[in-house]
């Protein structure tokens, strides 16, 4: 990508557009999508930007095709992305599983809206968190990032691309409608300031190269189409050469590898933003648009002298279990505001193991919490 393709400078754009710019900055050259509120603006921006940077934009016939197409493009050698919302995310699930099984790097942006089914197309929701983790059948390791502002949409899309290249799997950007449609200042820094991971391609001689080597903690470099490695890529359980083998033993190796590469590297992947944890007695755990409200509430309370902390999840998956576990031994309670009827709250409750109380502040979707609601809830525990 040439330097002029990067729109260096300050912009006043919404989160969807920032996601698209993050993708362009990462060197994404292929986007396949299908219009869906509130993620359409990502596709619109990509349709305009990709031809400028020498990439291809295609609007597919549905989300199933979009997901399959970005996997194909990734094996064709292009960094690829799609963007969707709840119903489309559901349709993508089978091929997300294919991406996990075949260790295909790509990025899926999900601008969450209220569900289930058609739900609230134009209003906010955060109820796809567990779907991202467990949506496709079978076991796999999941990496999902939750931006809370347009600037983070830009930064985390780049991070998502980097993670997808490192761990060779689809990575989710789980934004929500509020963040996607929020317009704010976004700073796109110069190329030197960005950390972009180029795809690592196979270089070993053909006879030594194992395309699905599972001996290390990280997957091997990728052999894309046309490199001459003649790799067979299959969604069937496969051995290290990529040959389908339908036995329990190979299944053990295969599935352990795709789970362990995330599970065992979790501490490297996890990123959280914290406020006042050193003396906190009550901790608010929040992500996405909710974390902005939570931050306001925590700051208000701290100004009044209350010992309140905030854990803002930047990576929802893998979940920062160790941090929450440590905190649970010394705090009274966790307050978990989220726009669903309990998803991350379960995760917090599980890791707290009964050592601290957990309060779920649930909203079914369509509106966000107010700082005063959170302040009030925290107050009950102080």
């Amino acid at each position: 990508m040439a330097d002029r393709d990067l729109l260096v400078g300050e912009h006043f754009i919404h989160g969807d557009a920032a996601c698209a710019e993050g993708a362009i900055a990462s060197g994404c050259l292929f986007f396949a999508g299908y219009p869906i509120t509130p993620a359409t603006e990502v596709a619109e921006r990509m349709a305009r930007r990709l031809p400028e940077v020498g990439g291809v934009y295609i609007q597919m016939e549905d989300e199933i095709a979009s997901m399959a197409a970005i996997l194909g493009a990734s094996w064709g050698g292009a960094k690829s992305m799609t963007a969707t919302s709840g119903p489309g995310f559901s349709l993508m699930m089978e091929n997300i599983g294919l991406g996990m099984m075949t260790e295909t790097p790509c990025v899926v942006v999900n601008i969450q809206r209220g569900g289930p089914s058609t739900g609230l197309p134009t209003l906010v929701g955060q109820a796809d968190v567990m779907q991202a983790r467990w949506g496709s059948h079978g076991d796999y390791g999941c990496i999902a990032l939750a931006p809370a502002s347009p600037q983070e949409c830009f930064d985390l899309t780049i991070k998502a691309f980097n993670l997808s290249e490192t761990y060779r799997q689809p990575v989710f950007v789980l934004a929500d409608e509020v963040v996607g449609h929020m317009t704010e200042k976004v700073i796109i820094p110069k190329r030197e300031k960005l950390h972009i991971l180029a795809r690592s391609l196979a270089k070993a001689p053909k006879q030594d190269y194992l395309p699905f080597d599972s001996s290390g903690l990280l997957p091997p470099p990728m052999a894309i189409a046309g490199q001459g490695y003649h790799v067979h890529v299959t969604g069937l359980t496969h051995d290290e050469r990529g040959y389908p083998v339908i036995t329990a033993e190979v299944q053990e190796r295969n599935v352990r590898h795709i789970v362990d590469k995330v599970r065992k590297n979790a501490q490297r992947i996890i990123e959280v933003d914290t406020v006042g944890l050193e003396d906190a007695e009550v901790v608010v755990v929040a992500y996405g648009c909710t974390s902005r409200v939570a931050r306001q509430a925590v700051e208000n309370l701290r100004q009044k002298g209350f010992k309140v902390g905030l854990v803002k999840l930047i990576t929802i998956w893998p979940f920062p279990s160790n941090l929450i576990r440590d905190l649970s031994k010394r705090v009274k309670a966790f307050i978990v505001p989220e726009i669903n009827y309990g998803q991350i709250a379960y995760e917090v409750e599980r890791t707290a193991q009964g050592d601290a109380e957990v309060l779920l502040m649930a909203l079914m979707g369509g509106s966000i919490h107010t700082p005063s609601e959170i302040e009030e809830a925290v107050g009950e525990y102080l």
Binding site: L29, F30, A32, R48, P51, E52, V56, Y57, I58, M60, E61, D62, I64, A65, S66, A68, A69, I70, L71, G72, A73, S74, W75, G76, G77, A78, S80, E94, N95, G97, L98, L210, S214, S215, I224, A225, G226, Q227, G228, Y229, H230, V231, H232, V233, T234, G235, L236, D239, E240, R241, Y243, P244, E249, E252, R253, R256
Partner: protein
């Protein structure tokens, strides 16, 4: 949470390689086959191996560099084709071979991308993708092996099963007529449409190599016997008897209107190359209507800045 796992052995590369050496390289076509993958899983009398051989012959005849060949397949008996070819091959999810291949072909236009899949995969679960790829004229070579049923799962009714034909889910006869595949592909916008049976291997080679030379969406239907799933319930006999049936009942009509290509149970049907035409493919249209316009706009902008 503590986790206890069963002890397993690591992948033994040397043992795997020695196992391969035993039977590989005896046949000249083994050069195109992944070492250690033959014998394939298909039943005796199945026509899939014939279509695979004709594809290899077409690749050889066109002298396409093997590193530039990509085969994408879906799920089912035909879906297994990808696993046998020694090329870059992709065995995707059920019905999604075409969108996967679309992504690959657009991301790397240098590759010659063939979609090798069955009638159930391409026309039942993947029907929508096929018509849209044909409409867009993505540079894909589709080879559809039609055996009139879902073979892998044990011979269920497919969208190509003729009216009245028996399958394991239509035990008293199919209540729906089947698709006329060449007519459908033609209507959706394919630039090359042909149909042969496995009794016509030479014609199949010819059609597949013609298709490989075209730029755009081509469709070759290869009717293949399925003695296990389709032949037995319909009293067509063994694979060989089904081949004889295709010999006696097929009529070569090159250039015929694909509308006439309907297949009815135990009746004569036509085969041949029905359509061979030209029109700009997706990337050509994309370059002309999108990229070049964006580039000229950019130039105007840059000039404006300079001024």
């Amino acid at each position: 949470m503590k986790v206890r796992l069963r002890d397993i052995s690591q992948f033994d590369k040397e043992a795997a390689e020695t196992a391969i050496q035993k039977d590989h390289g005896l046949h000249p076509d083994d050069r195109f086959l992944k070492p250690g993958r033959i014998p394939h899983i298909w039943c005796p009398g199945c026509g899939l191996g014939v279509v695979l051989t004709t594809f290899i012959e077409a690749v050889r005849r066109n002298q396409i560099p093997i590193d530039k060949c990509v085969v994408v397949s879906g799920i089912g008996c035909t879906g297994r084709v990808a696993g046998y070819l020694d090329m870059d091959t992709y065995h995707t999810t059920h019905g999604r071979a075409i969108p996967f291949a679309t992504g690959l072909a657009l991301a790397n236009p240098e590759m010659s991308v063939t979609v090798f899949s069955g009638d159930g995969d391409l026309f039942a679960i993947g029907g929508n993708h096929l018509i849209h790829a044909a409409r867009r004229n993505v540079n894909l070579k589709v080879i559809c092996v039609n055996n009139f049923n879902f073979g892998m799962t044990g011979g269920q009714v497919a969208p190509t099963t003729p009216l009245e034909a028996r399958t394991s889910t239509t035990p008293t006869g199919n209540a729906e007529p089947g698709f006329n595949l060449p007519y459908l592909a033609h209507a959706a916008g394919a630039i090359y449409v042909a149909r042969w049976t496995t009794f016509h291997p030479r014609q199949l080679v010819h059609s597949i190599s013609q298709a490989l030379n075209k730029k755009g969406f081509t469709f070759v239907e290869a009717i293949a016997p399925c003695p296990t799933g389709y032949g037995r319930p319909n009293k067509l006999g063994s694979g060989l008897e089904e081949m004889r049936f295709y010999r006696d009942m097929s009529e070569i009509r090159n250039g015929a209107d694909p509308k006439l290509a309907e297949i009815k149970l135990r009746q004569r049907f036509i085969v041949g190359t029905f359509l061979d035409s030209e029109r700009p493919d997706f990337l050509e249209n994309y370059d002309k209507n999108v990229v070049s316009r964006v580039k000229s706009k950019q130039k105007v902008k840059e000039k404006g800045k300079a001024a």
